[in-house]
């Protein structure tokens, strides 16, 4: 179908991450600098080597805590001289910055692209609990082409939409709360081994079942935990990455497809966009799910992790509940260990790039106490609803 797979020209050469605070006392820019300077140094590069910057979702000229720092601010602050830069919400989910950055390298625009994602929702919510409400995306009447179909009905949080996917998954496939609980419990068990994770105290099934209902069938422990953090990834042209201090982690295959309306109610309610994303990704590689040693799968809401497990082929579609029952298959020593840093549910809602950071740490054997057995291939997938992307990573 494609005669050139651009992503194979691109590799991750370095990673960085700030503290993960709830809240952090550091400014959004300081968090961003901590992450990006660490990533540049980790790649064995200097500021002057960076010739591109990418960010999802960028700063929409409003300093919103969802993404307070975008490429413009970072370029100015770091004194970067770039050939290309870009940010913006409208892309295939939280991995869009990486996908855009990889395209910039593969097309010859850039050699080293700095990709980053900063979020300060924890400190923002200290003063305004409604800061993240969907109704605050617009001022006054809702003139958004899509959100106007939701906010008048008090769909005020993404959880309302994800809850309806979960309800339909429960209805169609018999998925049960005790099964869903395994996502939150697995993340919490993994977080215990991650010093940066927000919540590390043990969590059992009783704790999960006692967690208060937010939007049926999703409980508080099905929702990720707000934090202040920044994560950065340096993408390099593959030949340049091979000269660096780290074994290049190639972008083996990318999934970024959207074959349905960009909509939360007109799409497949139990797969969302994950089906076409995963099909695209697997069509661009010879690897199979059984070749992977870990998977870092979006858990902004726990149901999404089940849906990604199904879409990516770790189990048949509809059997995600059975697959994770008891938690063994997705545990550190299971068939496919997931979210080994605690995910967003317990590690913190770093929102997208945190999964990539953890995948690289595992592939490079740098994960410390939570290091899995050595492996060379991993998958990251992020998003929900019409937002979705996945990347297969292979360490050379």
């Amino acid at each position: 179908m494609f005669d050139r797979l651009f992503e194979k020209d691109v590799a991750i050469s370095g990673i960085g991450q700030s503290e993960v605070g709830r809240p952090s006392s550091l400014s959004a820019m300081k968090l961003t600098l901590d992450a990006t300077l660490e990533a540049i140094a980790d790649a064995g590069l200097t500021r002057d080597d960076i010739d591109g910057v990418a960010c999802w979702p960028g700063d929409n000229n409003n300093g919103d805590a969802f993404s307070p720092v975008g490429p413009n601010a970072l370029i100015s602050t770091l004194g970067l001289k770039v050939n290309w830069f870009g940010g913006g919400y409208e892309g295939p989910g939280p991995l869009a910055g990486l996908i855009n950055g990889a395209m910039a390298i593969a097309t010859g625009l850039c050699k080293h692209v700095l990709v980053f994602r900063t979020i300060t929702e924890a400190s923002r919510r200290q003063t305004d609990k409604t800061a993240s409400a969907l109704s605050n995306k617009t001022v006054g009447r809702d003139n958004s082409f899509f959100w106007q179909w939701y906010t008048p009905f008090n769909v005020l949080s993404g959880v309302n939409l994800m809850a309806m996917y979960a309800q339909r998954h429960f209805h169609d496939y018999g998925t049960r709360p005790e099964q869903l609980a395994q996502i939150a419990m697995t993340c919490r068990a993994n977080a215990a081994l991650n010093p940066k994770a927000v919540y590390r105290a043990p969590m059992g099934l009783d704790d999960y079942m006692a967690s208060r209902m937010i939007s049926t069938p999703l409980r508080m422990l099905d929702c990720d935990v707000h934090c202040d953090a920044s994560t950065a990834i340096v993408l390099s042209r593959i030949d340049a990455a091979r000269g660096g201090p780290n074994a290049p982690i190639r972008l083996e295959a990318i999934g970024a497809a959207l074959h349905q309306p960009w909509s939360w109610d007109q799409i497949d309610l139990t797969a969302m966009v994950t089906g076409e994303v995963a099909r695209m990704m697997w069509s661009r590689t010879d690897l199979k799910p059984s070749d992977l040693g870990s998977a870092q799968l979006y858990d902004g809401f726990s149901i999404l992790t089940i849906i990604w497990l199904e879409a990516l082929g770790f189990c048949p579609v509809g059997e995600g509940g059975d697959f994770i029952e008891g938690g063994r298959n997705i545990a550190r020593d299971g068939l496919i260990p997931i979210n080994t840093n605690g995910g967003q549910l317990s590690g913190g809602r770093t929102h997208g790039l945190g999964y990539v950071h953890e995948a690289c740490n595992q592939l490079w054997g740098r994960a410390g106490e939570r290091q899995l057995k050595p492996h060379h291939a991993s998958v990251v997938a992020a998003g929900g609803g019409p937002l979705g992307g996945s990347i297969l990573l292979v360490r050379e």
């Binding site: 809702d142 906010t151 009905f153 008090n154 209902m213 939007s215 309610l269």
Partner: protein, 132 residues
């Protein structure tokens, strides 16, 4: 609390004000004789621009729902039911709404529902209630 209301424009006004005459108006394409939602000046199926709002029966079924318990804003009354309703006119013709007039915990997938309007300012919100 005050609900967020939509900004009206030439494409969506028939939907948001149809309730004034008791009518749920959904965009229909004369090219392929299919409905589509949300409304737009072109049919996403066949790209015909020969499209216009058309009254539908207002009847359908719940294809998914959630009972929201979280008080996202101080004056928000909870719990309330958000649902995706599929209209009987066409498989896949869906919209998000609230299910009203019945206990939240009795809402089910496949529940037959019919539209009921609630006016706020110049907008008639199409809610749904259990079909008798």
């Amino acid at each position: 609390m005050a609900r967020k209301l939509p900004a009206l424009n030439p494409d969506n006004i028939a939907f948001w004000q149809g309730g004034e005459t008791g009518s749920l108006n959904i965009h229909h394409c004369s090219g392929c004789r299919r409905y589509f939602h949300p409304p737009a000046p072109i049919c996403p199926h066949c790209l015909s621009q020969n499209v216009a709002p058309r009254p539908v029966s207002g009847r359908g079924k719940v294809i998914s729902y959630t009972i929201n318990h979280q008080r996202w804003q101080a004056t928000l009354e909870v719990p309330y039911v958000v649902a995706i309703v599929e209209l009987k006119e066409q498989t896949g013709l869906r919209l998000v709404s609230n299910i009203v007039g019945m206990p939240a915990d009795e809402v089910r997938i496949d529940l037959p529902v019919k539209v009921t309007f609630s006016q706020i300012e110049d907008v008639w919100l199409p809610f749904f209630e259990k079909e008798a």
